[in-house]
């Protein structure tokens, strides 16, 4: 029981610009996590937010999309700047026994599933990987995925792959094939649609859900999704759990704990 759990900072070893809005930050901090789990990333003295690991083991990496104050500050850091890490937290994706899988990622949701794809590939699981993003320039991890899965891209503007969204592609796939599981991470409205599709096709599915996280270890209660705590019981939930949810796709809790419509 008594182990400490607070951020320890390490210098950023390498920063890679993945797309115009996405960067990957490499650190020499050793963490072993399972895909779908997350870490808390601390900019010392500034703030701290949850991120997926996009590299695991002796060297770790996080991949962030520039959105608001935190990611702006993150993007201003240089190699050598310190980043604090704690975790991993939560429960990851289940893929034991799977043989054919479909991964569906929207936008920066990619960060939560790239290691999943790589881990599944190691286990020789066949993967159809659906990536939906705004445009050609925002396609992420194309090379990494190309090696291990069949990549299907959907872009809002049709500048790459199919013009349309993830569901456009997924529906086609579900009609053609039977997957042992569909794994999904992306904006919640997209996940709601994917959930509906999977329900329709009776496809088992798991979703990595975002809620506003503070403590990340099941104490503050801010990340609740119904009776679940996203940080401990999630962030990955099965289709059945979300199907029963009164809150998924509808409401979440803001930083103040205020319940807000998504």
């Amino acid at each position: 029981m008594p182990t400490s759990d607070y951020p320890v900072s390490y210098p950023i070893k390498k920063i890679v610009s993945e797309t115009p809005s996405i960067k990957t930050f490499y650190l020499d901090s050793e963490i072993s996590s399972s895909p779908g789990q997350f870490v808390m990333v601390w900019i010392p003295g500034f703030d701290e937010k949850p991120f997926a690991l996009t590299k695991n083991g002796k060297e770790i990496a996080i991949t962030a999309k520039k959105r608001g104050a935190f990611t702006e500050k993150l993007f201003s850091l240089k190699e050598g700047s310190l980043l604090g890490i704690r975790g991993p937290y939560g429960k990851g994706f289940e893929f034991k026994g799977a043989k054919k899988a479909c991964i569906v990622a929207g936008g920066i949701g990619m960060a939560a599933v790239i290691l999943l794809a790589e881990e599944m590939a190691k286990k020789k699981i066949k993967i159809d990987f659906v990536q939906a993003c705004r445009c050609k320039e925002e396609v992420l991890f194309e090379k990494r995925i190309g090696k291990i899965a069949k990549l299907h891209v959907a872009t809002d503007d049709g500048s790459c792959g199919v013009k349309g969204n993830a569901c456009t592609v997924l529906e086609k796939l579900l009609k053609e094939k039977k997957f042992d599981c569909v794994y999904c991470c992306g904006p919640e409205p997209m996940m709601v649609s994917v959930l509906a599709l999977c329900n329709k096709f009776k496809a088992p599915a798991q979703f990595a859900v975002e809620r506003y996280m503070k403590c990340a270890h099941g104490i503050c209660g801010n990340c609740s999704l119904d009776e679940h705590l996203c940080c401990k019981d999630g962030p990955v939930f099965a289709r059945e759990q979300l199907g029963k949810s009164k809150e998924f796709g509808k409401t979440h809790y803001e930083k103040s704990g205020k319940k807000t419509v998504i």
Binding site: S9, E48, K258
Partner: protein, 302 residues
Amino acid sequence: MLETSFCGLKMQNPLILASGVLGVNKNNLLRAEHGGAGALTIKSISLEPREGHKNPITAVFECGMLNAVGYSNPGLKEAMKEFADLSEFSVPIIGSITAGNAEEFASLAKEFEKLSFSALELPLSCPHTPGFGLLAGQGTPEATKAITEAVRKETRKPLIVKISPSIPNIAEIAIAAEKAGADAINCGNTLGPGMIIDINSGKPVLHFKVGGVSGPAIRPIIVRCVFDLYQSVKIPIIGLGGVMNGRDAIEMLQAGASAVGVGTAIHYDGPEVFGKISKEMEAWIKAHKYKSVQELVGIAHK
């Protein structure tokens, strides 16, 4: 065997979910109820919504936890909606309100009177939120008296005053609360504050730099406070701080607590910790041929 009543609240066991640990919304509370809690305290509510301090708001060290949440809460208006209907709960729910002064406390209490909370708790003891608790000078007998009296006028619910174990003369505070009309003392809030530094960056880990210490680290100090208070006030006491298991809960009762709060233990064992502690208490009580938890209260004074 574990049933008890505290300030008229009927409880299936003497374990109360501490304020601010889960308790932000009804979802959280239900989870703790299903985990086996005997009563539940909501996260403290202030007049206005508060985002609280930036992250990190908690830091777990090898003996417990530091927190500087900074009273994040959705504010009175939202709380009135969230807690409007408590009928789905089968255990007593304790409201908690926090404010900068007696007047504000009173106006919150007035609003809360409309809700069906079983009791009302006033934390006058938070060590890490400017404008509130110790940082607003609420840790004195005078302030305790003023706030308790003001709230007493607005509520007929059992009134619990939550005090700080960091105050050397804790009995004075409790006596002030008792005289001003409090029905119970909760002892108590987090200790300190304390600080943890990330040595690689040389920066304090908590964004607010310092935070209150909870968990096993503070239990012996809380037990001593409860022991002292049992000799100083006649109203019942909640022993809250560092209780992790049945032994610890029984220790609190023996020191003089009539009910036992549980917060940080949830970090280690999840909301199911209430069930675990209850089972351990029951086993001990059986083995030692007691009949009820009430018999244990204060026996360390014999």
